[in-house]
């Protein structure tokens, strides 16, 4: 349970003259959900891109599953869900799942059961053969999550998975994330919904390219002497309460 799934060690990332990440330290252990919160432009997406190897760190190191990133082959063991739905809308849900399953090298015989499983998890089984163009916003998010879950990834990286979906569905997704955690896998999730930050095991506050605080939500609230993560966030930002 204590194996480190992801380890960002003093990661520095510059785009031109602008330094977006100024030494970010972040770890995700097996069997825990880590929340990454921060205002827009704080560098949340850059952290994720560096962890996935889409970007290369200019300083420090990024290792995932004990492998230095970027590493193409390792991507098959990571489940990634982007901020936008990123689906082929002219294809059906099943076709989308099949395609990404093949890209992730899910075995031919394992693919059909795997699709059936993730579809059941996100409650999309009856709609699998409909075209994505006809899906509601919530259905698209769920399909997107199902794609991320395909192939039993050891680490899940989710960029704002609950944006724009209704509370019932949000709760359902969280239940699924808890199940993933309980299966001993690691989850990194970004969000700007503060009450969601209460649900994670550890929360990292990203401000101006630095992790200002990284601990259990309750520990942080105690440390800052406030009642909620939202207040921790505001206090860390220097806003007078």
């Amino acid at each position: 349970m204590t194996a480190t799934q992801m380890n960002l060690n003093h990661v520095v990332k510059r785009f031109g003259k602008q330094t977006v990440l100024q030494g970010v330290d972040l770890t995700v252990q097996a069997g825990e959900i880590v929340g990454l919160i921060g205002p827009s432009g704080a560098g949340k997406s850059t952290v994720i891109k560096t962890a996935l190897g889409m970007e290369v760190a200019d300083g420090g190191s990024a290792t995932v599953l004990d492998t230095q990133m970027p590493n193409r082959a390792l991507l098959g063991r990571i489940g990634y869900m982007a901020q936008d739905d990123a689906l082929y809308s002219t294809l059906s849900g099943r076709e989308n799942l099949t395609f990404f399953g093949r890209m992730k090298d899910v075995g031919k015989n394992a693919l059909a059961p795997a699709i059936a499983h993730v579809a059941a998890v996100v409650d999309l089984t009856p709609d699998l053969d409909k075209r994505v163009a006809g899906y509601s916003g919530g259905m698209k998010r769920r399909l997107s999550l199902a794609i991320a879950l395909l192939g039993d990834p050891e680490l899940l990286i989710l960029d704002e998975p609950t944006v724009g979906i209704d509370p019932a569905l949000r709760r359902k997704i969280w239940r699924e994330l808890d199940a993933v955690r309980d299966a001993g896998r690691g989850v990194l999730i970004t969000t700007h919904v503060m009450d969601e930050a209460e649900l994670v095991d550890r929360v990292a506050l990203l401000l101006d390219g630095r992790v200002m605080a990284f601990d259990r939500p309750a520990a942080l609230e105690q440390q800052y002497g406030v009642a909620t993560i939202e207040d921790v966030f505001l206090k860390a930002e220097g806003v007078a309460l």
Partner: protein, 438 residues
């Protein structure tokens, strides 16, 4: 490379759902080619009407005999001018002095102006030949009369010589011999001149009319008909501009649609985030490019088959070389177009920006790839064509379709296309590093 195959299948599945785009790829080229055939075939039968003022009858008749030229007579220059202004005639011709003509053209259509010019030239030659013929005939008659006189004369002289034989005047005999010889020489030289003149006139008349009629009356005046049989190495007598541009047009459609649709497809992958998601899997960057190549290559082949079938079947275009060679070249061109489209799509932020590449990248290919003959243009203009892939594909297609060449003799064109493909693909695979660093 297994991923490439699945990507290709997905791209094709997506396209099959998009009926309008499919129709655009497969029906639009046929429609445009059909329209072009109508337009360019209609052009070849332009007729002109010419007004004449005070033209000699023989010139006017000769002009009226020229194909596609109709002559109307006008009494004054004013009347002819008015007819021209009212667009009733395309030109008018007036005689200003002996052997001086003035032609006024409407000149709103270059083909019509050229037709009037050529027609009037032919008419003048034909009328001139007739006059010459009459002169020659007259001269011939005079010569006959002359030679008859000479015969009589020499006969009389012979009699006189016989009478004087007894007298044995050596100097006198030499004198008559000289006279008779001189007369004979004069007569024969006149005949030679007339004969050579009539031959020359016959040649020029033949040259003037052979363009419009296959059968020409020989200038000897004796109605000896000359029959010219035309044989064509490519096509038939109806082969025109349209047939010349068909090979290039075929390549152009493949280039245009593959460039645009594939560019847009990859742009869409980028803007909807599916490219990012794809790159978050272990797929190689090269496999993505290869997957697109495979799918659009197949599409280009289907498109070529449809275009070839309709142009050969309904538009009677002849393909001298092998269909296989046509397919190979189009497939290659499609891959170049695809690599080009994908590369350009990285510089576009939206579909509309992708459309903006049409005037910059697609239209120049129309002008410089050989649809319009470049032979007469400046060298620097010709050099532009060397950097456009369609030039090589168009040339190769022309060689196969019109000259029946095989793939092996098109090594240079194919090599250049392959070079384009290699460079553009490498740039694409390299360019995707922007989205994922491995």
């Amino acid at each position: 490379m297994r991923h490439a195959w699945f990507i290709a299948r997905r791209v094709i599945a997506e396209l099959l759902r998009d009926k309008r785009t499919l129709a655009l790829m497969f029906v639009a080229p046929v429609l445009i080619m059909f329209l072009m055939k109508l337009v360019f075939t209609a052009n070849s039968t332009t007729g002109v009407t010419v007004a004449t003022v005070g033209l000699p009858t023989n010139v006017r008749t000769a002009l009226n005999d020229v194909k596609h030229v109709t002559v109307v007579k006008r009494g004054t220059e004013q009347a002819a001018k008015r007819a021209l202004a009212d667009q009733k005639v395309d030109a008018y011709i007036e005689k200003t002095a002996a052997n001086r003509y003035r032609v006024t053209y409407a000149n709103t259509d270059a083909t019509k102006t050229a037709l009037v010019k050529a027609g009037f030239g032919a008419a003048l030659t034909a009328a001139g030949v007739k006059t010459l013929q009459q002169t020659v005939t007259k001269m011939g008659k005079t010569i006959t009369v002359m030679s008859a006189t000479i015969k009589k004369l020499s006969a009389a002289q012979a009699v006189a010589a016989a009478k004087a034989a007894g007298a044995a005047g050596g100097s006198a005999a030499a004198g008559t011999g000289a006279t008779s010889g001189a007369a004979g020489t004069a007569g024969s030289s006149a005949t030679t001149e007339a004969a050579s003149d009539s031959t020359a006139a016959g040649d020029s008349a033949g040259a003037a009319t052979s363009d419009t009629t296959a059968t020409t009356k020989a200038s000897t005046g004796k109605a000896a008909k000359v029959k010219v049989t035309n044989r064509y190495r490519y096509g038939n007598k109806d082969t025109g501009f349209f047939d010349k541009i068909v090979p290039i047009l075929m390549g152009f459609f493949v280039f245009f649609f593959v460039f645009l649709i594939s560019g847009m497809a990859l742009l869409k992958e980028r803007t909807t985030g599916t490219l990012d998601r794809l790159l978050a899997t272990p797929v190689r960057r090269g496999e993505i490019v290869a997957g697109y190549m495979l799918s659009y290559g197949v599409l280009a082949i289907i498109q070529t088959v449809i275009i070839v079938l309709t142009t050969v079947g309904f538009m009677n275009v002849e393909i001298t070389g092998s269909l296989f060679a046509v397919m190979v070249i189009n497939f290659l061109l499609a891959l170049v177009a695809l690599a080009f489209g994908i590369l350009m799509s990285t510089f576009a932020q939206s579909e509309f920006q992708m459309m903006q590449f049409i005037p910059i990248i697609v239209i120049p290919q129309v002008f410089f790839s050989g649809i319009v003959p470049l032979d007469s243009l400046a060298d620097w203009v010709k050099n532009i064509s060397y950097v456009l892939p369609l030039t090589y594909a168009g040339n190769a297609m022309t060689q196969v379709i019109m000259h029946g060449k095989g793939l092996l003799s098109l090594g240079l064109d194919i090599a250049v296309l392959l070079l384009f493909l290699a460079v553009l693909s490498a740039l694409n695979v390299r360019g995707m590093r922007r989205y994922r660093k491995v």
